[in-house]
Symmetry: C2
Subunit: 175 residues, 2 copies
């Protein structure tokens, strides 16, 4: 899939087939996270790959949208050993979700509703934080899915976002 | 450029040609930011496009690596109207930097060294924050540049990152 199309067409997917994600594809998604840039290359992140669906159901009550975790095929918990590095966590998560999308795999970031509870359940130590849990799975029928032949300009004309004219200033805020 | 290759091969570029970035490409980069997902689609971001190189030189002393701003062809200041949405800012910044990379344009995130000073200079109001300023430009000779025919596995074998085995746990932290 072409990079620019993948970037502008990526949608959050919340309805998944139960099929497990193929090992090679999961590896590619994790490599995309590993390759991410971070401030001073500190790589303040660790990734917990969860494929045990029973455990995912148990943990689902600890995020803001439990259905994403009860229904997903797998999840990647992003752990920040320095919890202030949220910006870098966003970069790594986006890399993994874009890689997934380009492989035909849907994903969605999930915000902890009970971060201390998640840390205990996942044995995350000390000061570390959990900025997000990425739920993953092949899109269910009706869910958004990548269309490798779509045109970026057509995709962009239809997205539910602020228009560029309200979003971009020139030289100064409001300019 | 293929999406997965773009994601895993993206490097920070800090040495730029002075040539201005073509209008159409700049527009594509900004659209990539606009298309980013955000928590509850709140889009708590605004982008200030800076192309005035004199102004960029003036502002350069307010970021941690002034040379990135003195040398770049343009910059995108990411403003967060809700400064706690750093994770989403990371997603949008990564989208823009990957789009740039796929177009042959180098980029680097720059952390404010004096955020209040930047806010004043850029007339950013109230509680808003500036998580990053993305410097942009065509890579100078010797700087990293996209190689659309590279193989992802060869790129990944050479990057300066923790190995996957030290980065990924199974089911629980440390597992």
């Amino acid at each position: 899939m072409e990079a620019y199309l993948a970037i502008v067409s990526k949608r959050e997917v919340r309805d998944y087939l139960p099929d497990p994600i193929r090992e090679e594809e999961m590896n590619q998604i994790l490599e995309a996270g590993r390759a991410s840039g971070s401030s001073r290359n500190r790589q303040h992140w660790r990734f917990i790959l969860m494929r045990d669906r029973k455990r995912l159901r148990e943990l689902s009550v600890l995020v803001t949208r439990p259905a994403n975790l009860t229904g997903c095929a797998a999840a990647i918990v992003v752990v920040l050993t320095n919890p202030r590095a949220q910006f870098d966590a966003g970069r790594a998560a986006q890399n993994m979700m874009l890689a997934a999308w380009s492989l035909g795999i849907g994903s969605c970031p999930n915000t902890p509703a009970d971060e201390p509870g998640l840390k205990t359940a996942l044995r995350v130590p000390g000061e570390a934080g959990i900025p997000t849990i990425i739920s993953l799975g092949y899109p269910a029928p009706g869910a958004p899915r990548p269309r490798p032949r779509a045109k970026p300009e057509e995709v962009l004309a239809r997205i539910d976002r602020l228009p560029l004219k309200d979003l971009v200033y020139r030289e100064v805020y409001g300019g």
